[in-house]
Amino acid sequence: MAIFVDSSTKVIYQGLTGSQGSFYGQRNAEYGTQVVAGTHPKKAGTEVNGVPIYATVAEAVKETGATASCIFIPAPGVKDAVMEAAEGGVEFIVVITEGVPAHDEAWFYNKLQRDFPNVQLLGPNCPGIISPGKCNIGITAGEIAKEPSEGGPNVGIVSRSGTLTYQALYELKLKDIGVSTCVGIGGDPVPGTTFIDCIERFEADPETQAIMMIGEIGGSAEEEAADYIKANVSKPVVSYVAGVTAPPGKKMGHAGAIVSGGKGTAAAKREALEAAGVKVGNNPTEAGALMVEVVDGLR
């Protein structure tokens, strides 16, 4: 088991013909992901690293039975690409692209909710998702993720930050802890998949025994996750929130990462998480060490 994607997931790459798309598409395929198709309106019938290119997502789905799509299209085309994927019959859409306008994100999030309620969107501006040993969609370096061990204990990871997601995978691998699925939800204002979406599935996933959640300053997603954990989650949760020392009013890179009006601080998020019984580390390494304690207690 894993959440969202596993070894049966067949993936289309929208943007496979571009430099980033072809690089990561090939890496994902080498990892073992079923990379079954790419799309490009003018390059149908050609191949990229042996993967066939179709004109549209709908055609690619028809020919390959793909259920997921990974979007590497530049920001101006993302809105149309997301809708093309949903209309083409894909159930899981991963948008790696950064720099998508917030109004586009808000629009396609709500449009999907309404017209394609069964479609799960991940991103934009996210590193993707990896179920180690089964499927890797996006830009995560697969070799830094340890496969889940039979019978566990294994950890499910959900993170708002790309590089901190890799950091978490790496910390756990150093400690010889397996990962069921690692989801990078991205740092944009309107993420398609939330902490809660992932935590709910990890709680239900028999392969996952503990959950690691990596947050950052800005917004209230961590606080909402804390409320959810308190009410619904029995599995142990370890967390780290980046930006403890970030000055208020300054955007720290991510569109979402800003402390404004005293809200969205790392301290407030930490407090909310600790009140929900979550163990919170001061840095990624400390969070890794806390997870080792948790996992040792589960063995």
Partner: protein, 384 residues
């Protein structure tokens, strides 16, 4: 991107929102010429990216040319919370019967647009929200549906504005929503939105923040870039396309990804050091980008040591290592550099660095070790 008031008003005017006639000027003589043209009385308003202009003496009413000359002379060059006034906006003074508040922004929790309207305008909305939250009428708008006239009318009625303002408010709010969505704004705010004694509703102020990610479909937004306020380091970084935030310490920080950069700043603090900056070189960073980042850090005289923290996803370790080597050939870097590389092509990256390793180029395997090393080096070199 935050717009100055006059830019915000020009932005509103494009969407048909009534604003006062006026012009932005940079000299006293031009101020008088504008006032003579638009007619007295006029208001002379400082154009700065900071609130509290009125209290600082940056907004003055003038009945005649002499008064304009006096106020414009005083306001130009005025220091408002560290912002020097270079531009003033001269506009026709308005008679005010009532002052309201109106805004649109994104509610990230609800994932819908949030409109806020209050009969208590002219004061900080945060104060109203704290002291009398019921005085703010809110509406959540699905971006797919937009704001219908019926919904806007219902919203205005809930806000308990003067009934004379209803028609004008409905019209302005719908236009303000269009400006917010079509203009790709993170925020459009009118405070105060006024009702004139003659019954018209009018935007007396304009606060607009535009989404920097939308410039590909708004070529004209490039001009707003010119008026953004940044410190010199931030200006330098911005011109190189880097995400940089200046801080007060002595350890230069370069990392890939906002989260890792934040985490690097945190860990430098946690091991007893003080970061000089936040710098995210982003995804897809190549040798050119890394060289630029090192140049930006090197230009900050307070930096005593540099911490490069890279975890490879889109940014590949060998590209980063090549970038550092290229930058070292190109720029004379004074401060020692401590590097931690992991992830995609990390081994290749470390191998490239190993050929160049020295007292001033040190590679460490973990974030904590790298942080401790860089902070110790910075302190040895006088960082405090």
């Amino acid at each position: 991107m935050d717009l100055l008031e006059y830019q915000g008003k020009q932005f509103f005017a494009r969407y048909g929102i009534p604003v006062s006639d006026g012009e932005a000027v940079t000299t006293v003589d031009d101020a008088v010429a504008v006032a003579d043209r638009i007619g007295y009385p006029v208001v002379v308003k400082a154009q700065v990216h900071v609130g509290g202009r009125g209290k600082a003496g940056g907004v003055k009413l003038a009945d005649d040319a002499d008064a304009v000359r006096e106020h414009a002379g005083n306001i130009l060059g005025l220091d408002i919370k560290g912002h020097i006034v270079r531009t003033i906006w001269i506009e026709v003074a308005s008679d005010i019967a009532e002052e309201y508040y109106a805004s649109f922004t994104l509610d990230r929790s609800a994932k819908k647009h949030l409109g806020m309207l209050s009969a208590e305008g002219g004061v900080e909305i945060e104060t109203v929200a704290e002291e009398n939250p019921d005085a703010i009428a809110k509406i959540w708008i699905d971006p797919v549906d937009g704001l219908s006239e019926a919904d806007a009318r219902d919203w205005v009625e809930r806000a308990n504005l003067n009934p004379d303002a209803t028609e004008g408010a409905v019209d302005i709010l719908r236009k303000l929503y269009t400006a917010y969505t079509e203009g790709d704004a993170d925020l459009t705010e009118i405070n105060p939105l006024i009702l004139k004694p003659t019954g018209e509703v009018h935007a007396l102020d304009a606060k607009v923040t535009l989404d920097g990610n939308s410039t590909f479909r708004h070529e004209d937004y490039a001009e707003y870039e010119q008026t953004q306020v940044r410190d010199e380091r931030e200006e330098d970084a911005h011109s190189k396309g880097l995400q940089y935030v200046g801080l007060d310490g002595y350890v230069g920080v370069i990392a890939n990804g906002a989260g890792l950069a934040m985490s690097t700043v945190d860990i430098v603090n946690q091991v007893g050091g003080k970061p000089a900056n936040f710098l995210d070189i982003g995804g897809g960073a190549n040798a050119e980008v890394m060289a630029g980042a090192l140049e930006v850090i090197n230009n900050d005289p307070k930096v005593k040591a540099i911490f490069i923290n890279i975890f490879g996803g889109i940014t590949k370790g060998d590209e980063v290592a090549n970038g550092i080597v290229t930058a070292l050939e190109r720029v004379d870097i004074d401060a020692p550099i401590v590097i931690r590389i992991d992830g995609t092509n990390a081994d290749e990256g470390r191998a490239i660095l190993a050929e160049h390793e020295s007292d001033s180029l040190i590679s460490k395997p973990t974030m904590v070790e790298a942080a401790e090393t860089v902070v110790a080096l910075a302190k040895e070199r006088g960082g405090q």
